[in-house]
C-alpha cells in the first residue's frame, strides 16, 4: 500500500507491498470515513489518520461520518453496519 508521509495518502509515492496487497489495482478496496464533503469530492480518512480526496459521484451525496468503500480514488459503495 502507499507509504511515505503517513498523513497524506494521496501525496505518497505509489508502491505495492506484499504484506498488504496492492491497493492501486485489482479488486482491493479500502474503507474510509468522510471528514469533509465539498462538491463531487470528499476529504476522507482511514483508521491510521491518513487522508485523501475521494470522488463521490457514484455513491450520491455524502456527509461527515459516512463510511465509504474506496477503490483507486473513487468511492464505489457505502459501507453499512
Amino acid at each position: 500500500m502507499n507509504t511515505g508521509d503517513p498523513a497524506v495518502l494521496s501525496e505518497a509515492p505509489v508502491s505495492c507491498e506484499l504484506t498488504d496487497g496492492c491497493i492501486t489495482c485489482g479488486d482491493v478496496a479500502v474503507v474510509l470515513t468522510v471528514v469533509e464533503a465539498s462538491g463531487p469530492d470528499a476529504r476522507c480518512r482511514d483508521d491510521a489518520g491518513r487522508t485523501e480526496d475521494v470522488a463521490t459521484e457514484l455513491v450520491g451525496a455524502v456527509a461527515p461520518g459516512n463510511r465509504l468503500l474506496v477503490h483507486a480514488g473513487v468511492a464505489i459503495e457505502r459501507v453499512e453496519g
Binding site: 505509489v14 492501486t24 489495482c25 485489482g26 482491493v28 477503490h71 464505489i76
Partner: protein
C-alpha cells in the same frame, strides 16, 4: 484495529472451521474456486486453508486483473509510450508485467516516460499539468476498477481536456466464469464470488451458475472470517441440497449492485466482440472498449499500435494456474526461473497473483506442515 479485528479472530476461525468440518460428507472431496485474486491473497496471507478440513480444496481463479493481461497488450502500450510526446500512466502492479519486448520498467530504462498512479484521476491531473504532452492511462481491472476509469473520462470530457486518453483493458468477470465452467479440465463444486466486483454488478448476474450449473456461489468479503463464513454458507447449501447465490458481504454488496456505477459504465464503455485473456485464450464479449460517444478518448484510435498477438513463454504455465488446473508450485518454473523479482509469468507479478501469493506466504504454511510431520 477498528472494524477489522473482529474479522480476524482466531478463536472464531477455529469454531467456524469445526462447523465446516461437521458439514463435510464422509468420503467426498469439495473443490471451491475463489474467483478473485484478492481472496487468493487473503487465503495465503492468513493461512485460511489451515482452518479447513483436507476434504475442502480451495482452487484459485482468474480474478487478478494484472495476471490476465496478454503480452501483446503490453507491447502495444510500450509502442505508444515510446513516442516523445506521450506520458503513459498505469497502476503500480503493471510496471513489471513482461511483454514480448520487455516490461514498462524496461521501456522506462530505454527512455519512455511511464509513471505510476494511484487513481486514473491522478493521470487526468498529470494531463492538466502537461498540456503540451499526450497523457495515456493504461486501464486494467474488472468491474471494480472500470467505474473509476469511466468517471475520469467523464470528468475529462466535461472539462474539455483534449490531451488525455485511455488504453482500455478492462475485462468483465461473468464471461471468464463461463469459460471456466465450460472448461473440460476442471471439476468445480462451488464458487466464492468476488466481493468488490459484486459491489458494482450485484449478485444477480451469478444466478445462472446456481440455476443452470447447479453450483452454489457466495459473494464474500476479504477478511479471513469473511472467507471462512462463505465456505460455511456453501457447505450448508450442500448439506441442505440447495444451489443458490448468497451474499456474505452484505456490508457493501447490494443484490442489484451500484446502479449509478452500472449506468456510468454503460455510457462510457462498449463491449468488445472478443478479447484475449492470458492463459484462457480469446473470450467473446469479455472486455470493454471506449464507447462511440467517448471515442475521442480511446488511445487505440488516437495512436497507431502494433496489435500483434504474442505467445506466452513456453515454460510459463500461468494458463493452467489461472484456470485452477495447476497449483502454483506445480508449475515447472515456479520459484526457480520465475520469482517475484524476475517473473516469467503474470501470476508471479501482482501480489494478487496466485504464484506470488503462494511464493510469499503459502510456502511457510507448507513448511509448517513438514515440521508437524
Amino acid at each position: 484495529m477498528r472494524f477489522v479485528d473482529e474479522f480476524r479472530d482466531p478463536d472464531l476461525a477455529e469454531m467456524l472451521g469445526a462447523r465446516i468440518t461437521a458439514l463435510c460428507e464422509p468420503g467426498r472431496h469439495y473443490k471451491i474456486m475463489e474467483v478473485c485474486g484478492g481472496h487468493t491473497h487473503t487465503i495465503y496471507r492468513y493461512g485460511v486453508q489451515d482452518y479447513l478440513p483436507d476434504d475442502i480444496e480451495l482452487v484459485h481463479g482468474p480474478g487478478c486483473p494484472v495476471c490476465v493481461i496478454p503480452m501483446g497488450r503490453v507491447d502495444d502500450a510500450i509502442a505508444i509510450a515510446e513516442r516523445a510526446d506521450v506520458i503513459l500512466t498505469c497502476f503500480g502492479d503493471m510496471m513489471r508485467v513482461p511483454g514480448g519486448n520487455g516490461s514498462f520498467v524496461d521501456a522506462t530504462a530505454r527512455g519512455a516516460d511511464i509513471r505510476m498512479v494511484y487513481s486514473p484521476l491522478d493521470a487526468l491531473r498529470i494531463a492538466r499539468q502537461n498540456p503540451d504532452r499526450e497523457v495515456v492511462f493504461y486501464a486494467i481491472g474488472f468491474e471494480t476498477t472500470a467505474p473509476s476509469t469511466a468517471l475520469t473520462v467523464m470528468r475529462a470530457k466535461a472539462a474539455g481536456i483534449r490531451n488525455f486518453s485511455v488504453f482500455c483493458n478492462h475485462v468483465t468477470i461473468i464471461p471468464a466464469i463461463k469459460a471456466i465452467l465450460d472448461s473440460p479440465d476442471l471439476r468445480l463444486d462451488a464458487f466464492i464470488g468476488p466481493g468488490h466486483v459484486s459491489t458494482v454488478i450485484g449478485c444477480r448476474p451469478y444466478e445462472f451458475i446456481a440455476r443452470d450449473h447447479g453450483k452454489p456461489l457466495v459473494c464474500a468479503g476479504f477478511e479471513p472470517l469473511d472467507l471462512l463464513q462463505s465456505v460455511f454458507m456453501i457447505m450448508t447449501q450442500f448439506a441442505e441440497g440447495r444451489s443458490e447465490v448468497e451474499n456474505q458481504y452484505g456490508r457493501v454488496v447490494r443484490w442489484d449492485g451500484n446502479l449509478t456505477a452500472l449506468k456510468v459504465l454503460a455510457d462510457v464503455f462498449a463491449l468488445r466482440p472478443y478479447f484475449e485473456w492470458r492463459g484462457l485464450g480469446s473470450i467473446s464479449h469479455s472486455a470493454l472498449r471506449m464507447s462511440d460517444r467517448y471515442g475521442d478518448f480511446d488511445a487505440e484510435l488516437r495512436f497507431k499500435v502494433p496489435g500483434v498477438r504474442v505467445a506466452d513463454p513456453k515454460a510459463c504455465q500461468c494458463g493452467e494456474v489461472l484456470k485452477g488446473v495447476l497449483k502454483p508450485w506445480e508449475c515447472k518454473v515456479f520459484g526457480t526461473a520465475c520469482t517475484p523479482e524476475m517473473p516469467i509469468g503474470t501470476c508471479m507479478v501482482s501480489s494478487e497473483g496466485a504464484c506470488a501469493a503462494y511464493y510469499n506466504f503459502g510456502q511457510y504454511a507448507k513448511q509448517r506442515v513438514h515440521l508437524e510431520v
